[in-house]
Subunit: 142 residues, 4 copies
């Protein structure tokens, strides 16, 4: 059984920084959203399909730790993975580092639900996740 993972790359632009001279806290979360969206594609949640089905993965909770600052022009690498699965939610985690460096800059955990819009109705996770990601299921669900 495999744990779905994703790696994305970002280069820090002016719009990512603030007048403190470092990357702004919101910019990291936008970068993480790009990684999360690509991870979701690997889980079978495709952006173009969502645009038609209106079944969206919706953020329920974010925990993010800003450990070290980054600067204009820095090349950042984001590693994300599916962490665990509950009946109607799943958790992902993300780590951000500078290219070719070990130091953790950002760590982040996010939980998501699948929601049918525009009604806003929470849906069960796809049935095949139970099998495919059995090793990631919360103990209470097994």
């Amino acid at each position: 059984m495999q744990t779905p993972t994703i790696t994305t790359h970002e280069e820090v632009m002016f719009f990512d920084t603030d007048c403190g001279g470092v990357v702004h806290n919101l910019a990291y979360l936008r970068m993480i959203e790009t990684a999360r969206t690509r991870l979701a594609t690997k889980l079978g949640l495709n952006l173009r399909e969502m645009a038609h089905t209106h079944l969206y993965p919706v953020l329920v909770r974010t925990e993010i730790d800003y450990r070290k600052p980054t600067k204009l022009g820095d090349e950042l690498i984001i590693h994300g993975k599916l962490d665990s699965i509950e009946r109607a939610r799943f958790w992902c985690s993300f780590e951000m580092r500078r290219k070719d460096e070990d130091a953790l800059l950002i760590t982040c955990k996010q939980s998501l639900a699948l929601v049918q819009m525009p009604q806003g109705k929470p849906m069960r996770l796809p049935a095949d996740w139970k099998e495919k990601y059995a090793h990631l299921m919360a103990a209470t669900m097994k």
Copy 2:
């Protein structure tokens, strides 16, 4: 006959600035969007109604001149007005100044169309605009 106008106030936040130490070009356009949206309300285009009718004023063109920089904590005043009306488009203009100062910091012109979503169908401007804003109508339409 009256020309619809709007005045909005903004205080420069960290998320508005970049590592050049000044406000980022995108931030001004977000501030102008707030002014434009409140101006649209005065034209009868109400945000909460739009959320139901899905008839939206859609930006067709922006021209913006960045004349002088602004900084963290600056208090900005945006003056907007309806400039002119065509059959299916209208133009607004915006000026931004620091509170209690005369110097123009930003000038901006934007043209908008009314579009019925999700089809993306351009609609005629409301019939009563012809009368209410006759003094703003393009010469070719009179």
Copy 3:
């Protein structure tokens, strides 16, 4: 002894929403930053002074729960307060509701440090906070 608090108001704009038809997760954190910045002013951390001293309150951790969605044109009220104080960090918490409604939409906790830029050196919290906010000090510091 008083607990510093802040109340801010936001109206949901187009740039706050996404194609799911509801407000995007990043937009809430921008709104909370505005509240946090105004709360910081009450703590003596003034934006215009920061632009000169380069002593900034820097976000260390965010925890945010997205409880209920909001829509274009919604009028939101954000209540924030200083939660607790440690030697070199402080915690704030924020709650977001629709105007005239009780339901909690967003709850958020954030911890911050004071950092001297551009060196990025963490500084002690102002000496007078110990007295002013003694009731908010972590037990281990008393």
Copy 4:
């Protein structure tokens, strides 16, 4: 003599869209900034160097036409080029299309100046641009 050009790729994310179901006007300008920054690198204006020299290309004017809408998951291609050079300013232009499609979605022209921060002093363009980009020089400067 060669005209500097750049091509960048973007995939439309949730944070790029609004509740009209299409990409928001500010998102295109963020995408164009990424292209512009990479074009600037080709002109010898490197992001990481800027972070140290504080000599920045600053946006002076933007003209952008929103021709056709785009949606969640669309793959966009941005072509940019150096258009012309004046004594203290230069113009770039950008075109955006969907991958494998001819239709122009967005066209944009932007002029920039080189500014030494934090003083905000406008600087002459690099001396060698006169030779390298002689074919792009405004008639009045030749």
